[in-house]
């Protein structure tokens, strides 16, 4: 299961809508080994394409250098599909190289740049095998209270 706070969820959706019809992409970093998605990092889609995304290689290096320095890892890797469902494509599966990450897919095919619901789904992709998982949205303040 992927647990995500509302602000991060909204940030990913807003990014996907803003970049439509180009695929949007990014990560949510968190402390290594914690499985806590805490820091949303929007990345530029260097491919600038409605059917492909790729982090710019220099940006990728800077991102991993920063995460390494802060003892973080990419807890979520997200991207949007702009004309198809929020399910990993064959290319997504072949290129999934973070076995510990939650792969989030957002589909903007329905409403594009406009307001309206999106498909927002999460998967594990390990050795070419896709497993869908639940997404649980938490309100930042209420989770803090629940631990008291």
């Amino acid at each position: 299961m992927l647990r995500l706070d509302r602000a991060t969820y909204d940030g990913i959706v807003a990014h996907a809508k803003r970049d439509h019809p180009v695929e949007a992409c990014g990560v949510v970093a968190g402390p290594a080994g914690s499985d806590r998605a805490e820091r949303l990092v929007e990345m530029v889609n260097a491919a600038g394409s409605p059917t492909f995304y790729e982090f710019d290689t220099t940006d990728l290096f800077q991102l991993y250098k920063q995460m390494d320095a802060d003892d973080e890892e990419p807890v979520v890797v997200y991207h949007s599909h702009t004309a198809t469902e929020a399910y990993p494509s064959r290319t997504d599966i072949g290129l999934a190289m973070e076995p510990n990450a939650h792969y989030v897919l957002v589909s903007t095919r329905e409403h594009g740049n406009n307001d309206g619901p999106v498909e927002f789904r999460s998967y594990r992709i390990v050795d070419g095998e896709v497993t869908e998982e639940q997404v649980e949205l938490v309100d930042g303040s209420s989770t803090t209270r629940s631990t008291a």
Partner: protein
Amino acid sequence: MAIEVRIPTILRTYTDGEKSVTGEGATLSALIDDLESSHSGIKDRLLDGGDLRRFVNVYVNDEDVRFLGGLETELKDGDQVVVLPAVAGG
């Protein structure tokens, strides 16, 4: 001559889980051969038909080797090499 090589999560199965290993070589190509001798199988994950795989990035001292000399990029003692798989899809 020792060169530190940072290994991404997905390739740590070849390095007994180590995040970082050391190797040697006067060029990136020679370094990869040296890594293969102690971490069998890793070369095939980095190269395809004698070239760097399209979705594998290698950086020498913070610079993408595609903007340097590719596999012929010269290395010297103390250089840091980082391997990162592309984050990409369709």
